[in-house]
Symmetry: C2
């Protein structure tokens, strides 16, 4: 079953800090066939139904060149998810899993990510397959699938950094 706002057996909620460390702007809206949480897929599929991504102004010009990529990474805001569970019971069995070992929409920052197949670009609208979210979900970002993208900017020293300093300072516990 999909959760509305209930907590299930053995799940653990915390008192979360205020979500004011950074702010998001919704840059578009996603249209899908799914208008109820009882219907949405657990995971999108590339042979799934066409979904529509509309980009709001002033961001339309940022689509230039996106048609060259067969697959895109999409980030969206799961605006109907609670954010305070650290242990969850997805199968409602009483067995709990840590939130970070799940891809559940319930998380401290409810950002969904999908890799979609790009079918068409029509002005400020993309038609794609592979989404798993509710109709009307706010869009946060889109970018080429990492496996298809080669940086245009010249490489930097870190791109060649393969050695392992072992006890390097950045791996040590900080004094705070």
């Amino acid at each position: 079953m999909v959760r509305e706002n209930e907590i299930r057996e053995n799940e653990v909620a915390v008192e979360p800090p205020a979500a004011t460390d950074a702010g998001l702007v919704f840059i578009g809206r996603i249209s899908t066939p799914w208008t109820s949480r009882m219907e949405t897929p657990r995971q999108g599929r590339h042979d799934g139904p066409l979904c529509r991504i509309e980009i709001f102004e002033p961001w339309g010009p940022a689509l230039k060149g996106v048609e060259a990529f067969e697959r895109l990474e999409i980030l969206y805001w799961l605006d109907r998810s609670r954010r305070d569970l650290v242990l969850q019971s997805p199968a409602s069995s009483g067995k709990v899993h840590g939130t970070f070992s799940l891809r559940s929409p319930v998380r401290p920052n409810p950002i969904g990510t999908s890799i979609v197949k790009l079918e068409a670009v029509e002005g400020a609208v993309l038609l794609v397959r592979g989404l798993d979210c509710l109709d009307g979900t706010p869009l946060l970002d889109l970018k080429p699938d990492r496996t298809l993208f080669k940086p245009i900017a010249p490489p930097q020293p870190g791109d060649f950094h393969t050695d392992d300093e072992g006890t390097a300072h950045y791996c040590q516990k900080r004094e705070t």
Copy 2:
């Protein structure tokens, strides 16, 4: 060259809407070897240096079970990026690309995503390889790599939804 805050030839900035549609909470901090934007890799590599991800309270218990996954998807906040460019010139050549056709850190919602190799979990600290961000970058989320994760919750109707209704309402232009 890495940008500080300058705009390059032919790049286009917009007046962005206020970023107040949703709020984020920083759930941890990432430590890497790179303390200057002149050093950070363009893309992380799985044979790159060990990096450290520290999870803040009250989120520690949410790590339960994460050690079972060889690879994790990490989301982080690129807190030093400008957010207003729609056309960018990564090679400083005057040739411009739309922001959404790039994986540049400069974007309306500067969220970085990486797939990392998980090397160790030590309490509320993860040691990983494959990051590409500056030392001190705020952490937003972590979850199993999508290719390794099988949903625990039972499937829903959308998981079997492969038909294409063609002119379905959700693909039509909305009247707004």
